[in-house]
């Protein structure tokens, strides 16, 4: 006599639960506490870690740019110039170096950075001279400035 219905009552829930769990736990092995061992705690921690990594990749670009700007400002102040003046005058002389490269030059190639700062300073003085002009009124205009000269 063989009892056949007993075997029908056993459910096979799936053969690869172990590997699915390991897929999540492998990303949690360097965490602190029970999150690195227990699956239900690890799932939540790993999800947060992935979300923070995604957001961090966007923030990294912003932070690096502010870091470069701070470094360029500090280096240009060593040469008696301010950061906005330096950048504006470099763009006016059509030098299209980006902030990352200018900050690297300021760190590793100080002489090249000095040459860039001098270029920007010369362009700044030219701009001031062009704006201030001769001190004379334009031709054909009669005013007390012309009267006094």
């Amino acid at each position: 006599m063989v009892f056949l219905t007993l075997s029908y009552w056993i459910r096979n829930r799936g053969p690869d639960r172990y590997w699915k769990v390991q897929e999540v736990l492998k990303h949690a092995r360097h965490f602190r506490g029970r999150k690195n061992r227990c699956y239900s705690l690890a799932v939540r921690a790993v999800r947060r870690a992935f979300v923070y990594a995604t957001k961090g990749r966007k923030l990294k670009k912003r932070n690096m740019r502010t870091l470069w700007i701070t470094r360029i400002a500090a280096a240009s102040r060593e040469h008696s110039m301010k950061y906005p003046a330096l950048i504006h005058n470099l763009t006016k002389t059509s030098v299209q170096l980006n902030r990352r490269v200018i900050s690297e030059l300021a760190i590793t190639e100080p002489r090249s950075f000095l040459s860039l700062a001098k270029l920007a300073q010369a362009r700044q003085q030219e701009g001031f001279r062009a704006a201030l002009g001769d001190g004379k009124e334009p031709a054909g205009v009669f005013s007390r400035v012309v009267l006094l000269q």
Partner: protein
């Protein structure tokens, strides 16, 4: 325009005030008690912009420029520079590059592994004693930057995950980007400069 007018204002101030004592001839003393500045120094006595340094004459400027160009030309002709570095625009990024440098580029390049590539957009070339700054690029006859494609791989699988709590929103995507590794072989300067 406004600045021209304001310059006129500062100049009229400086011209007008010394004339005033002549009107009061009876009050003129033989020895003036105020020596030095005719105008008392206040916040509005001088213009807020710094005083202009003396202009260098055009011939002086041209001679200085010619001297600088000739020294740099001499150095390039006699190859007296040591190691050169260049700033190159490649794959929408700017790289500061020397000889024997490795560069990792996060996209696919059409060249095969082992092919030599010439990078044409050079923004700046520098040596120990001189720098050549391009406005914005340096000429192709002036600089030659050569590189070889070493490796074409894929990046490690980055996880892009978005999660909005209490809204049952969770999206997970694995991003694998193609990468190329280039080795910069040489940077050469041509001995010709105007």
């Amino acid at each position: 325009m406004a600045l021209c007018r304001n310059v006129g204002f500062w100049r009229t101030c400086s011209v007008l005030l010394p004339r005033r004592p002549l009107l009061f001839s009876s009050a003129v003393r033989t020895q003036s008690s105020v020596s030095g500045d005719l105008v008392p120094r206040t916040s509005l006595s001088r213009p807020p912009w710094p005083e202009q340094t003396a202009l260098v004459s055009e011939e002086e400027e041209r001679s200085r420029h010619a001297a600088v160009v000739s020294t740099v030309n001499q150095k390039i002709n006699q190859r007296q520079y040591g190691r050169l570095f260049a700033v190159v625009h490649f794959a929408s990024r700017q790289w500061k590059v020397t000889d024997e440098d490795l560069i990792l580029i996060e996209n696919h390049i059409d060249a095969e592994c082992g092919e030599r590539i010439r990078m044409e957009k050079v923004l700046l070339v520098g040596a120990e004693d001189f720098t050549l700054i391009g406005r914005p690029l340096l000429g192709k006859e002036l600089v030659r930057v050569e590189a070889t494609v070493i490796e074409k791989t894929e990046s490690w699988p980055k996880v892009h995950m978005r999660f909005w709590r209490r809204h049952r929103f969770e999206r997970k995507k694995i991003i694998i980007q193609p990468q190329t590794v280039l080795r910069i072989n040489s940077i050469e300067l041509a001995p010709r400069l105007t």
